[in-house]
């Protein structure tokens, strides 16, 4: 292997690793706050990428209708669960958030598709469409069983993953989609070429990590989320609303998923079910980070990307086997070195 191939593989690995890092961060975030191992994270990637690709092609994406449907389901759920305390104000507020907002997004999307304003607006619109699905999903599937065991939450997450993959097939069809790159700039660095797309991925990943760091370290909402993650009962006693923390975590996860999707759809053809395997790699990184550490997760994700790139070059058939087998020694080491015992579940 000469140095050009080495550099190329390294670049490829780092690019994929950056995406895995974003997803790993989202998984850590959701798990820490809600104890849900968020299997459907990958679906947000697919939804985001496909929505963006359709907008770029000048078509109205199905997700714009999907968000209305999710909002209506969450609205119905909210009314049923709070039927004893229904008041005009409550209904009006819920209707605004769960019916009004998605309808507004739908009309906005129609207007944007008609106007064709360009990639940046499409990116923002994609996030606006996909992001609300996160909190609606939390309201419908997870909030009613927020106190259940990790196992029950996980199985529920699998159910959500199956349903969302199926819904993805309905709205996007079985055909794969690809979008033109957001930037066509190229930057030769020695023997290899770094595209604007690559740089964009690095920049956005780094920016999101910094933003998350500031959010959790400097804002009261972020601190409330961390408090929830550390001690749910304690957080409740000081007045932090668990349901709200859950919704924020899921919103962030949806946003991160959508951004990841937008970033990769110009590089690889996305299908309605591609998200799962991409999410899984992020998951590997999140596990190496022990589902608690953000910096470790980001570093692990880059490593996973690089290992995968080299594994696919040397033994492409065994790429997945290698990546997932390498996880076992890592888990063992973490089990031995982690201070937490298995005394209290």
């Amino acid at each position: 292997m000469d140095s050009t191939i080495l550099l190329f593989l390294l670049q490829d690995g780092l690019t994929n690793g950056a995406i895995y890092a974003l997803l790993g961060l989202a998984l850590v975030l959701v798990f820490a706050v809600t104890r849900v191992i968020f299997v459907p994270q990958g679906e947000f990637v697919a939804y985001g990428g496909l929505t963006f690709a359709l907008l770029e092609a000048g078509k109205l994406p199905g997700t714009a209708y999907m968000v209305v449907a999710f909002g209506a389901a969450a609205f119905a759920m909210e009314l049923v669960s709070r039927r004893r305390e229904l008041a005009a104000r409550l209904v009006a507020r819920e209707a605004a958030f769960k019916l009004g907002l998605p309808l507004a997004i739908l009309f906005l999307a129609k207007a944007v598709v008609a106007a064709q304003p360009g990639a940046v607006v499409n990116l923002v619109l994609t996030i606006a469409i996909v992001a609300p699905i996160g909190p609606y999903l939390y309201r419908v599937a997870f909030q009613p069983i927020a106190d259940a065991s990790v196992l029950v939450l996980l199985i529920t997450a699998v159910g959500v993953h199956l349903a969302m993959t199926g819904i993805g097939l309905v709205f996007f069809g079985a055909e794969g989609l690809r979008a033109p790159p957001i930037s066509s700039a190229v930057l030769p660095v020695g023997p290899i070429v770094v595209t604007g797309q690559n740089l964009g991925i690095y920049a956005i990943t780094a920016a999101l990590i910094v933003a998350l760091y500031l959010f959790f370290g400097r804002t009261i909402t972020g601190k409330a989320l961390r408090a929830t993650a550390i001690n749910r009962i304690g957080a409740r006693l000081v007045g932090i609303r668990l349901a709200l923390s859950g919704r924020i975590a899921f919103t962030l996860a949806a946003v991160i998923g959508a951004v990841s999707g937008v970033l990769i759809v110009p590089m690889t053809t996305l299908y309605y079910d591609t998200g799962f395997l991409v999410g899984l790699k992020g998951f590997v990184a999140a596990i190496i980070g022990g589902l608690v550490s953000y910096p470790l997760t980001a570093a692990a994700a880059l490593l996973v990307g690089v290992v995968e790139a080299f594994a696919s070059f040397h033994a492409s058939d065994w790429k997945e086997v290698i990546v997932f087998t390498l996880l076992l020694p890592v888990l063992l080491i973490r089990s031995w070195t982690d201070p937490h015992s298995d005394e209290e579940e």
Binding site: I145, I155, T156, G159, A163, T165, W318, V321, D338, E343
Partner: protein
């Protein structure tokens, strides 16, 4: 479970195919339910009882299915000859994976099973000898006495025979010395080890057993389907098995069959009904299945079986022979002092929790360890019982050093303890909880538990437990779940559990906390009785009236350091002790 339930269920299973109108379609569906039930039963033991969540069970089906496929389709072996080989391969794989997996702690364990589950799935699909993604076809059907069992009805009896056999074995196991030890794993490592249970070995045994049940299912699957490919052995099917276990009620053997039945039936119904309603262009059935999964868990978090079982009156508890012959005792060490602690030290980072503390307890003596909160009393207990390693000093029982020994080895020397924070299994009966204390006095293993060869010893073990429960005055609560008792009573249950070890040295951590006046008096009487029998007692207690009236000797700790020791009457007047407790220069 009622005595007649099992024969009744067996009779129903046997008669179903004979009912007119039950078509091959239904029999095939029931075959699939049976195949899934076997895997889920293993999961019930592994996840529901043992507390280890595995997503990789389908991979063990794969090991057995591929083994038998290669041996029968490629090398022409008889399926019956390949069965032991298939189980052996599965078992070996389980030992190797298990050695890694059971050492993973907390959430790392389920994640580890996902990791090797995915890796194995891809490996099955890449190996040339396993036919890569196409798999292996042309596997011969089972045959018995020259009759081919290719008809689903014939296979039905083989499959459900296996399910019933596995159910009986699994229920036997749960109702045995090993079964209690497995259940004790959920109550945490510390309590289990304090009574001589080896968590890692127990977990590995359960892991291999669950894998073998999955292997049996995989072997049957290969010969019923007559072809194998990687798809049914991946992580998605593994998740589905786990869902079956949860939907049925993880922890219940019958829940495994209920869960497998419900999920298999639902999936099949959806695959037929949904496309007819909505058209076949998209996989609407996946959506509906996913949604149903979410709904079922919201409606029944604990699974369906507890709800079904709740419809029937619960059977009376099995009688316990309180007059059963006692379990064999242990050769008693006679050297004095029984417990000698010399200059032990424990630091956590910069904090010195126990600072060169020395104390001794003689046979037939009650010694109290007192001191304000945070004085290092419970840490001292944990050092003596091997839960924490000491940083210095020595601990001896009857003149033999035990510092550095594992908790199990210390328990085997006749050191039993209770815990400051009660460590009982709240859902298990008081009787079973207490019987865990007798673990080291029995020797029935995994296999004798499965095959019910342990009945004589089991009768003596439960008899011993019942005697100790009666001795501490809780006979009327024997069959209640331990968690339903008042906290003070739960502490007394822990004492009964400790007594089952036939201890030479009893360590009691705040035994009188939460007891009412007359209960304290009864506890004091019990401790005096034990003292008269020659048991050495070391207790941590905050109730000074209780301590001063009962003990022979008092050791006072403050900030990890021994500040006084002596007979109770002296301690009461000791100025250093008064200063530590009242914060004044007395």
């Amino acid at each position: 479970m009622h005595r007649l339930a099992l024969p009744l269920f067996a009779a129903i299973v046997a008669l179903v195919p004979l009912v007119p109108g039950v078509s091959v379609f239904w029999i095939t569906l029931l075959d699939n339910i049976g195949l899934a039930s076997l895997v889920v039963m293993g999961l019930v033991l592994l996840t529901g009882v043992g507390g280890m969540t595995s997503f990789g069970q389908a991979a063990f089906c794969g090991f057995a299915a591929y083994t038998t496929a290669v041996m029968t389709a490629k090398f022409g072996w008889s399926p019956w000859l390949s069965l032991p080989v298939a189980l052996l391969v599965t078992g070996l794989a389980a030992v190797v994976l298990g050695l890694v997996t059971v050492r993973l702690s907390g959430h790392f364990l389920p994640l580890g099973t996902i990791a090797w589950g995915i890796a194995l799935y891809y490996a099955f699909g890449k190996l040339e000898i396993l036919g890569r993604h196409d798999g292996i076809s042309g596997i011969p059907p089972l045959s018995l006495f020259g009759i081919s069992l290719v008809d689903p009805r014939a296979a039905y009896y083989v499959i459900w025979g296996a399910v019933l056999g596995a159910a009986i074995l699994t229920m036997n196991l749960l109702d045995s010395r090993t079964g209690r030890a497995i259940r004790a794993l959920r109550g945490g490592r510390v309590a289990a080890e304090a009574f001589g249970i080896e968590p890692a070995r127990m977990k590995l045994a359960v892991f291999v057993y669950a894998a073998l049940l999955a292997g049996l299912s995989g072997w049957l699957y290969a010969h019923v389907q007559r072809a194998v490919n990687p798809t049914p052995f991946g992580v998605h099917p593994g998740i589905e098995y786990l869902f079956m276990a949860v939907a049925g009620g993880a922890g219940q053997v019958w829940g495994a069959i209920v869960g497998a039945g419900l999920v298999t039936f639902l999936k099949d119904a959806l695959q037929r009904i949904v496309p007819a309603l909505f058209g076949t262009s998209a996989q609407y059935e996946t959506i509906v299945f996913g949604l149903l999964l979410v709904v079922i868990l919201q409606v029944a978090k604990d699974g369906l079986w507890p709800r079904i079982a709740g419809l029937f009156p619960s059977p009376p508890p099995a009688p316990v022979d309180i007059a059963a012959e006692p379990l064999p005792g242990r050769a008693r060490a006679t050297a004095e002092p029984l417990l000698e602690v010399a200059d032990i030290r424990k630091t956590f980072g910069g904090l010195v929790a126990v600072n060169d503390v020395s104390l001794r307890v003689k046979r037939g003596e009650i010694v109290a360890l007192i001191g304000p909160n945070g004085a290092g009393k419970s840490t001292t207990f944990n050092l003596i019982t091997g839960v924490l390693p000491a940083n210095g000093g020595s601990i001896s029982v009857s003149g033999e050093r035990i510092d550095g020994a594992r908790p199990q080895a210390i328990a085997a020397r006749g050191v039993a303890r209770t815990f400051q924070h009660v460590k009982l299994l709240p859902e298990m009966s008081v009787l079973d909880n207490v019987a865990i204390g007798a673990h080291l006095r029995g020797e029935a293993g995994f296999i004798s538990g499965l095959l019910r060869l342990d009945r004589a010893e089991e009768r003596r073990m439960l008899g011993e437990a019942a005697r100790q429960i009666a001795r501490v005055g809780l006979a009327e609560h024997m069959h209640k779940p331990a968690g339903s008792l008042a906290l003070g009573q739960q502490r007394i249950v822990e004492i009964a559990r400790a007594l089952c070890l036939a201890p030479d040295l009893l360590l009691l951590d705040e035994p009188a906390a939460g007891l009412r006046h007359f209960e304290k008096a009864a506890l004091a009487d019990l401790l005096r009785q034990l003292r008269a029998e020659g048991v050495a007692v070391l207790l941590v207690e905050h109730d000074m009236g209780f301590v001063m009236s009962l003990t022979d000797h008092v050791v006072v700790l403050d900030f990890g350091t021994r500040i006084a020791e002596g007979p109770p009457a002296e301690i009461k007047r000791n100025p250093a002790v008064l200063a530590a407790y009242l914060g004044a220069e007395a």
